[in-house]
């Protein structure tokens, strides 16, 4: 199925709301949606939600031969899957730009940042090592998939326990089942955090948002995805879209990201530790059955919370009788008469308005720009260290 296009009305409405300092879901510009982490029955299975975005990550392991160039290091691989479940326009088993982008972010953040001690995954040098495989599946695409995938896979990796092994004298490797021996937790040195900033260029003024929703992602001029850890290291900078920024703006983004990285990393660590602690008690883990809340419930809770906090400002329900409404409806119909000369001019105005905006965004070559900006980013990372 094709993606439903976003109308010009919706676009202008989102942009003009931003100009008024508002977002569609009533958030501050630098406010992140609620993040929840839920763990499954088995080790290394985790679903993460950011608002209504929902991602599931599952870690599996197997014994393989190591690479000849690195004989005493285990292997780690991350795979992202997008099915039509996430959004109707995705096709199963076929890659698109979004999958490539997510794959790139996760590879850099988790694999290349070396947050996991790969040497601890070695069973026998040159012979056998553990291969950890993280499968990340997007269940619901409501914006900011990069952060969601990163949180889910990091939590799943931290939560994962691999089975114990014994090596016999003749070099045979026996893998013990989870019932036979206590499994071994994975050792993660640093917790990678990923934060997304969206930029909107309107009339030569740049608006910066955190954690863009799906609609905002479709309207925005560009985004910066910063991968970092609380120890002051930048692991990745991805800068897609048609926007050019000053070095100061990127530095301020990265500063902001560092200020949020610690709390985000602690949140993940706390959720994982709590769940592992629970498993040590005699009660068997139930998994997802009773702890996953649906998106409808999430939306309802948000509205209820909003009503509670703004209970002082009373909601006015129009008490007009139905007949009056009917009359006003009739009036509206007359107003939208296509032959009415006053109304014809208004859509023209809107058109001019949008045409202006396209000129401002100055589309340039995307690839070269992103490389430039990444170099700048690297400079700043050194500065910060």
């Amino acid at each position: 199925m094709k993606e439903v296009p976003l109308s010009t009305c919706e676009r202008t409405s989102i942009v003009s709301a931003l100009q008024a300092g508002l977002r569609y879901d009533n958030r501050e510009f630098l406010e992140v949606r609620d993040i929840t982490l839920t763990f499954g029955k088995d080790y290394g299975c985790c679903t993460a939600t950011i608002g209504q975005t929902r991602v599931i990550a599952q870690v599996t392991c197997e014994v393989v031969e190591p690479r000849p160039s690195r004989p005493n290091e285990g292997k780690l691989s991350v795979a992202v899957h997008l099915s039509p479940m996430a959004a109707p326009h995705f096709e199963p088993g076929r890659g698109n730009d979004l999958v490539d982008e997510l794959q790139l972010i996760l590879d850099r953040n988790i694999k290349e940042s070396r947050c996991l001690d790969l040497e601890s995954l070695c069973i026998m040098a040159d012979e056998s090592v553990w291969h950890l495989r993280v499968d990340v599946t997007v269940l619901n695409h409501a914006g900011n998939l990069g952060d969601a995938c990163n949180i889910a896979s990091v939590a799943a990796l931290r939560h994962f326990h691999r089975p114990d092994v014994t090596v016999e004298e003749d070099g045979r490797v026996t893998v013990h089942t989870l019932e036979e021996r206590e499994p071994i937790p994975t050792f993660m040195k640093k917790v990678p955090v990923c934060l997304t900033y969206a930029f909107f260029i309107v009339d030569d003024y740049c608006y910066m948002l955190m954690d863009p929703s799906e609609k905002e992602e479709r309207v925005m001029s560009g985004k910066l995805i910063v991968g970092l850890n609380p120890h002051g290291e930048i692991t990745s900078l991805v800068f897609p879209g048609r926007v050019s920024l000053q070095k100061e703006q990127i530095v301020s983004c990265i500063r902001n990201a560092f200020s949020k990285a610690k709390s985000s990393a602690e949140m993940v660590q706390k959720a994982v530790d709590e769940d592992i602690e629970k498993r040590k008690s005699l009660i068997k883990p139930e998994g997802f059955i009773n702890c996953l809340a649906s998106d409808a419930r999430y939306a309802r809770q948000r509205i209820m919370r909003k009503i509670k906090t703004t209970s002082k400002t009373e909601f006015k329900i129009p008490q007009e009788p139905v007949e009056d409404l009917q009359e006003s409806m009739d009036e509206i119909q007359i107003k939208f008469d296509p032959f009415d000369s006053d109304e014809v001019t208004t859509p023209m105005k809107v058109k001019q308005h949008t045409a202006k905006k396209v000129k401002v965004s100055k589309p340039r070559e995307v690839a070269s720009e992103s490389e430039e900006e990444e170099e700048e980013g690297k400079l700043t990372s050194q500065d910060l260290q």
């Binding site: 499954g40 479940m85 199963p92 499968d135 599946t137 998994g287 998106d295």
Partner: protein, 212 residues
């Protein structure tokens, strides 16, 4: 019987979705459609149905394809496909947690997702799995550990009106006597499943929603 649980309208972007669990097996089904269809799949007299089952790890292999085909043939019999010519209906199922009952959980999740999406159907359908132990007893909705010990495993899908068999899937050997014994036991269990559906749907359309 194992405990059944369900949450409707689970995903915000799908037309209908359901998270369904039997015991410790959890599956998530989402339905999109009837909607736009590719030219190659366009039928002049009916809606094109597509079922996609994705496992929680790795690519989908032959086992997953089998599940897909069983679900597809079941759903095709029930949905009123002739009402929506030149459209496509997509069913996507995601394995969330596995404990041996992948097929019956996904079939039930699909049924509730279709009901949630408001796709016209002749009747609802319910799947029940049972297994035969070496001692000759029949266990309804076994766990994975029980399945490993068992001799044969059978899954039946029944329609909601006369409890007729829509599809049957079997692994291992069953003689005709045992097969009919399994069928009868599953048939009685299916009534409970259909009652559970009714309760879930009544909850959905009731005015006082007890969401906590």
């Amino acid at each position: 019987m194992a405990k059944h649980a369900c949450q409707l309208n689970f995903l915000s972007r799908s037309d209908g979705s359901a998270l369904y669990s039997i015991g410790n097996t959890v599956a998530l089904a989402s339905v999109n459609g009837p909607g736009e269809v590719k030219k190659s799949n366009r039928h002049y007299n009916r809606s094109h149905l597509e079922v996609c089952y994705s496992p929680s790890t790795g690519q989908s292999m032959i086992g997953e394809r089998t599940l897909e085909s069983v679900i597809l043939h079941t759903v095709e019999q029930v949905i009123l496909v002739h009402l929506h010519p030149r459209t496509a209906t997509n069913v996507t199922i995601q394995e969330m947690q596995s404990d041996g009952l992948a097929l019956s959980t996904s079939v039930n999740a699909t049924c509730l997702a279709l009901l949630d999406a408001g796709v016209q159907m002749k009747s609802p359908f319910a799947a029940v799995t049972c297994c035969l132990t070496p001692s000759g007893t029949i266990i309804i909705e076994p766990t994975e550990a029980e399945l490993k010990e068992s001799e044969a495993l059978a899954t039946f899908v029944f329609d909601g009106q006369a409890l007729n068999v829509l599809s049957a899937h079997q692994e291992g050997c069953l003689d005709s006597e045992n097969f009919y014994a399994c069928l009868r036991k599953c048939q009685t269990a299916a009534k409970d499943v259909l009652n559970f559906y009714r309760r879930i749907m009544e909850e959905k359309y009731s005015s006082d929603k007890s969401y906590n």
